[in-house]
Amino acid sequence: MGATIRSLGSRSLRSPALHSVVAAVIVGALFLVGTGADPVGAYGSVVSGALGPDGIGSTLTTGTSVIGLALALAIPMRAGLLNLGGDGQLVLGGIAAAATGLYSPLPAPLTVVACLLAGMAAGAAYAALAAVCQNRFGVPLLVSSLLLGYPAMSFASYLARFPLKEDGSSLPQTRRLPDGVELPAFGSSTVTVGLLLVAAAVAVFVFADARTATGYEIRMTGLNPRFAAYAGVDRPRLTLRLMALSGAVAGLVGAIGVLSFPYRFIDGSLTAAGHTWTGLTAALLAAAAPLGTALAALFFAALEVGGLAMERTTEVPRELTQVLQAVVIVFLAARLNLTWRRARKKPTAEIEVKEVSVR
């Protein structure tokens, strides 16, 4: 037992992800020194701001969205597919949930369920459309998912500004959902049951990835698409199913966002924080491994909330945390780590498995 823990410890010490994070923290410190701030104090305020008693609730609320979206993007990424349309799927999920919530004749608790399902269905259908574009028309998923994202956001924006708009309000927002149509929160915090839903989705992904035949097929496709094709994996079908699943999770996050405070769809509010990109970064950092993705997403959520605290106490702009995230991925993609140096000495290591290959 001790040996396993020790080997796990040494393995994570050698992990490129850890090296990238450490390298990014150092680059961030250089940035802070460059702008005349005290790096120790700034980083200290990030940690205390994110995990302190005032920040932890906020970290978990942000975490709900970031983990959810990271999961959504990790699902297809596990098979080597990159879904760049997360924002569109998220927003459609949100507006579908809002519309359902406003017009559903069902009693409130059932309406909540209907909202969640509507959000998932909208996200799934739209993401599947991107898969169809690749399968039937040969437009690369990367491009089709991304391009489809923009009309989706415009459409949701239109609905929020015109048909569903709150009368008499100057803000581009829908009416408030009826009383009771909301996800219950824990105590007086802003953390809702949505966190549990996302956690459950992560648990399902962890199980499916490790224990089911489908999970094996997905990983195999990600590691070596040609081998998977020989082994009988129907790639177009897999793409369609994975994208639908991915969109469903993104839509679920949108629905959770609408069913939480302030209980309405506000144009731009779901995408303003850029959680989709944060989620994508987390999934890339963890090479789409289920548990790793969730942990990386939580880490980034903490970084984001801590960044706000840092901005309040030290006047360092919170955008620094966004820079840190991207630097992590730059280092990771360029493999600026010990593994890379070893690989250079030994040319055979060139054949090592690529974590994410999208083309």
Binding site: L147, G274, I329, A334, R335, R359
Partner: protein, 298 residues
């Protein structure tokens, strides 16, 4: 809606940043580097162009500054993919993210504002009146004319010049090129640097030509459209020009329709829908001819 010269004038304005960036992307593609970081490089160009113009008081020094900064930024992609053999797609996505964070951070620390920096004293690129060119082709900034020249230069260079031939050779068969004594890495570095310079100019045109301000994430997907234009134009300079023109016209028509009472949301989406539709049509046609799409999964 009337089809008049003002419409085409604004279409050309919308075309320019995309054309410059897409030209850079096409050169990278030809050298065998998939450059998906055009959006980020362009955004760096926007910011450094505005910063350069503000601190020197000259829009042209701003343009030079934008080209240099964006070229320096593109080195991340060059070193990452060519020397360290990292994944170009992941690096490109990271470059796009980094640019948003970096420019937001610098906007706050350098200019002390959030969201948008604009000042009446910020020098922008003025229009040049060309005699006898008519209302459509006259009155643009010099970068607009430069972008057309760049298309011609790139087309001739890639098709005729020995360096262009070697660059294509490097992209198509790096091992064969290396055997013939052509260093693939050198040509790929040059291609990525060129794309950096072109994206810097694209950013400068966007921030100092089309408007005179910098706002967070002001590229708003134009770099991605440029990536699509590279695919649509099959990485040919003239093809890229046509693809970019399609987008420019869609944006200009959308803007006009908005003035006629169409909701802004519908017209905002129009360029993306048009691009996607064009991509469908061109792939369908290419599929019949069994030509592979650039950047498509094999």
């Amino acid at each position: 809606m009337s089809i008049d010269s003002a419409l085409f004038h604004s279409a050309l304005l919308a075309l320019t940043p995309i054309l410059l960036a897409a030209l850079g992307g096409a050169i990278c593609e030809r050298a065998g580097v998939f450059n998906i970081g055009l959006e980020g490089m362009m955004l760096i160009g926007c910011f450094s162009g505005v910063a350069g113009s503000w601190f020197t008081g000259s829009a042209w020094l701003g343009v030079v500054f934008a080209a240099l900064a964006s070229a320096a930024y593109s080195m991340i992609l060059a070193v990452g993919t060519i020397s360290l053999r990292g994944d170009a797609v992941v690096l490109g996505v990271a470059l796009n993210l980094l640019a948003v964070g970096l420019t937001g951070f610098l906007l706050r620390t350098v200019f002390g504002v959030q969201g948008t920096f604009s000042d009446p004293e910020l020098a922008g690129l003025g229009g040049i009146d060309i005699p006898f060119a008519g209302a459509v082709f006259s009155g643009h900034s010099a970068l607009v004319y430069l972008s057309w020249a760049a298309v011609a230069v790139a087309a001739v260079f890639l098709a005729r010049h020995p360096w262009g031939l070697r660059l294509r050779g490097v992209g198509e068969a790096p091992d064969a090129a290396a055997t013939l004594g052509v260093s693939p890495a050198k040509y790929q570095y040059a291609a990525v640097l060129t794309s950096g310079v072109l994206c810097g100019l694209a950013g400068a045109q966007l921030a100092l030509g089309n408007v005179t301000l910098f706002s967070e994430n002001m590229t708003a997907g134009r770099g991605w459209i440029a990536v699509v234009a590279v695919m649509l134009g099959r990485a040919l300079p003239l093809g890229v020009l046509l693809a970019g023109l399609l987008f420019g016209i869609a944006e200009a028509v959308g803007f006009r329709l908005q003035g006629l009472g169409m909701p802004q949301q519908a017209t905002d989406a129009a360029p993306y829908v048009v691009t996607l539709a064009a991509l469908f049509l061109s792939t369908a046609r290419r599929r019949r001819r069994k030509q592979p799409l650039v950047g498509a999964p094999s």
